[in-house]
């Protein structure tokens, strides 16, 4: 895909290095001459935005760690003294906290873009799986980072989330004790979470390199879902994608700054302004907003699963909830094979398109349910919403490939672009070059 390298060293030093460590060639091939489809829309800029967010989180995090004290009696105060007394400390700390939220905003858009345009389909299965691994690592990092300020929600969130592990049969309690460094959340927990919170972002960076590498092997998808076929279909990364990504990053940064400077607490929880107190349980423990859909899935399973008409319980409600929650993430790994359609882009899949949007709305609703107490009307809604989440992946996705009649696709990216340009840009592509998919 990347084709042969077009880099030509011109200076003496350039030639010297190119024969020994061709790092400039690597950068040139990856970010200058790398061919990208000419028809990428703005939803494709979130990969670059996520890269910037990762760098931003690592830099602010390293500076915050210089002021932070990972000790149970001092952690809370050290964060607030950073906010109050250190020059630019307020901006720095809020930037890191809001940045975590915005990181997830970007990653969710990135994931949904992938689901819409079928970015996980051959030959990009490994690319997708690496992405899910990054997402998992992000969740672990964000969770441990949220514990560090040692507020009430930090502490009790840690209690709840680590208790998931005790649901594992036989070894669960032991796993949980190793995780906590004791029998309950305490100073040992804070120390190891701090250490891991510092480690994981670099592991993310490592997987990101693999993610980008696979992307550069397979090439990017595009809104038509038709693979690149000729040189006319692509344009060089620089200046085209560079300037487009830069514009998108700055727009994203404006939205982030709005929260950082004007609504720094909007995305957080007020209880985290109260110091962790092991003896006072908050009335209503909720995780950070980006975990809420999974929190709803967890609480949707409030029943034991056993052999019917007997009292034998195979999976109690606690283990069931935890399995469902991890299953909700694990199912993403199998998406490349659950989707049986050969057509990549939802633009040419009228039925999938409808189900995609139902899924998206359901996912947001699941997040809202995650913020509600598990009582009354909310429980059946959580169950229904969770049911649909799994139904979408496990039943709808595989079946659609067999029953859906896709629209005719353009012969090439260039065809699609030119017919769009000639018809004023508004109407659908009417190129009838591709045969409708006939399967099943």
């Amino acid at each position: 895909m990347s084709g042969h390298s077009t880099y030509k060293p011109t200076t003496g030093l350039g030639k010297f290095m190119d024969e020994r460590l061709p790092i400039v060639r690597l950068v040139h091939d990856s970010f200058v001459s790398f061919p990208v489809p000419r028809n990428l829309n703005n939803w494709y800029t979130f990969g670059g935005i996520l890269m910037i967010m990762l760098v931003s989180q690592i830099i602010t995090g390293i500076v915050i760690a210089m002021h932070y004290t990972p000790e149970a009696t001092m952690a809370f105060d050290s964060v607030h003294l950073l906010r109050r007394d250190v020059s630019y400390g307020n901006t720095l700390q809020v930037w890191h906290a809001v940045g975590a939220s915005m990181f997830f905003v970007a990653v969710y858009i990135h994931i949904f873009r992938g689901l819409y345009y079928g970015s996980y389909k051959a030959p990009r299965e490994v690319l997708w799986i690496l992405g899910v691994v990054i997402y998992l690592l992000m969740m672990a990092t964000a969770f441990m980072g949220y514990v560090l300020p040692w507020g009430q929600m930090s502490y009790w969130g840690a209690q709840v989330i680590t208790s998931f592990f005790s649901a594992i049969p036989l070894v669960g309690e032991t796993v949980r004790e190793y995780l906590l460094g004791g029998y309950a959340v305490g100073n040992a927990t804070l120390n190891r979470f701090f250490s891991l919170h510092y480690l994981l972002p670099f592991m993310i960076a490592g997987i990101v390199i693999l993610h980008v590498w696979t992307l550069h092997v397979t090439g990017q998808t595009n809104p038509t879902g038709v693979e690149v076929k000729s040189k006319q279909d692509v344009i060089p990364f620089t200046p085209y994608a560079t300037v487009k990504d830069a514009f998108a990053m700055v727009v994203f940064m404006i939205i982030m700054c709005y929260f950082v400077f004007y609504m720094p607490d909007y995305l957080g929880h007020a209880d985290n302004y109260i110091k962790a107190d092991p003896l006072t349980t908050p009335a209503h423990i909720v995780p950070e907003w980006y975990f809420l859909p999974f929190y709803a899935v967890l609480r949707a399973v409030d029943f034991n699963i056993g052999i019917p008409f007997t009292d034998i319980v195979l999976i109690d409600s606690k283990l069931g909830g935890v399995l469902a929650m991890f299953g909700a993430i694990a199912v993403l790994f199998f998406v490349p094979w659950l989707d049986t359609s050969d057509v990549k882009s939802a633009n040419y899949r009228p039925t999938y398109k409808i189900f995609f949007w139902i899924f998206a709305i359901n996912a947001v609703f699941l997040g809202y349910l995650g913020s509600r107490p598990a009582e009354g009307i909310w429980i059946p809604l959580m169950k229904a919403s969770t049911f649909w989440y799994f139904l979408h992946f496990i039943v709808i996705m595989p079946l659609l490939g067999w029953f859906e009649k896709p629209l005719p696709r353009p012969a090439s990216i260039t065809d699609a672009v030119l017919s769009k340009a000639s018809s004023g840009g508004a109407s659908q592509i009417d190129g009838a070059a591709a045969e409708p998919q006939s399967k099943g």
Binding site: W156, V250, A374
Partner: protein, 282 residues
């Protein structure tokens, strides 16, 4: 010993399961209905993109704190030097701090000693520790004031929380404290609150352990402002907001400059992008 710990852990796990996972739904249920009344939204100088603190108001608020609230509530993260934000001179702050005693030491003889507080010292609280504070208040620990204006924020509910993004509403905590302080009333017929004091604005129940702390002319303001309950409540709330977020005005000013820069930068990039892409149909 180990088994005792184990039992303790199991108990904690059970409590966490009950409340966190809400499998039993009991503790979550008790939180759902409160506060009975939503906070009443007030006009604050510190709201909006150009929010600032009114120094005269903060000084009045400090007076309310010192003369009324400080009898029970500490402000642990605040130092006397921070009062410079309120417009006091260094000499005034030094005198103010000197009215309090702090324990220092050990000195060269190995003894702890008492000395007047200095501007660099943290605010001296009314009690030696939390246990003493709770014991002196029938077991109800008066919360520290420093971050309270940010730590109290009743849920706004759907769809209000979405509109809040666009109206830049971030004064939930201040509105809550003001509403609580001016919200004491007689319990309605048939409602028994026992030793507590009825207040429909309280976030964790229909009544709280603190009696109505404010009353007409309780504090005499040096600038001649009429000392109504509403005025006292408003001033102490503004003071608490300042204590919780002393950098708020600088933060908002900084934000304005940063966002202005980014908007101009985005504009330039937009036209650059347009120019670069003008030769490619896409």
């Amino acid at each position: 010993m180990k088994t005792v710990f184990k039992k303790f852990t199991t108990m904690i796990s059970a409590a966490v399961m009950a409340s966190g996972l809400a499998l039993l739904g009991t503790s979550a249920a008790s939180a759902a209905g409160y506060p009975l009344e939503k906070p009443r939204e007030q006009d604050w100088t510190f709201s909006g993109p150009f929010g600032y603190y009114d120094k005269a108001q903060l000084q009045r608020g400090l007076k309310v704190y010192v003369e009324v609230c400080a009898a029970c509530h500490s402000m642990n993260l605040l130092s006397y030097r921070n009062l410079g934000d309120l417009g006091y001179t260094d000499a005034q702050i030094k005198n103010f701090a000197a009215e309090y005693e702090v324990t220092d030491g050990p000195n060269d003889d190995g003894e702890m000693f008492e000395r007047p507080a200095m501007p660099t010292d943290r605010f001296v609280g009314p009690y030696a520790n939390d246990k003493e504070a709770a014991a002196a208040n029938n077991g109800a620990l008066p919360p520290d004031f420093t971050l309270l204006a940010k730590a109290r924020a009743p849920e706004r509910g759907f769809p209000t929380f979405i509109f809040d993004i666009f109206t830049m509403y971030a004064e939930n905590g201040a509105d809550y404290i003001y509403s609580l302080l001016t919200g004491y009333q007689d319990a309605p017929e048939g409602v028994d609150v026992g030793e507590l004091y009825y207040n429909p604005y309280f976030a964790a129940g229909n009544a709280l352990a603190m009696a109505n702390p404010l009353s007409e002319d309780l504090v005499e303001f040096d600038d001649g402002t009429a000392s109504t309950v509403e005025q006292q409540a408003k001033d102490i709330t503004a003071f608490m907001m300042w204590a919780a977020d002393p950098n708020l005005p600088q933060r908002k000013q900084r934000g304005f400059i940063v966002i202005l820069f980014l908007v101009i930068f985005a504009g330039l990039l937009y036209f650059t992008k347009k120019k670069v892409w003008s030769d490619v149909a896409h």
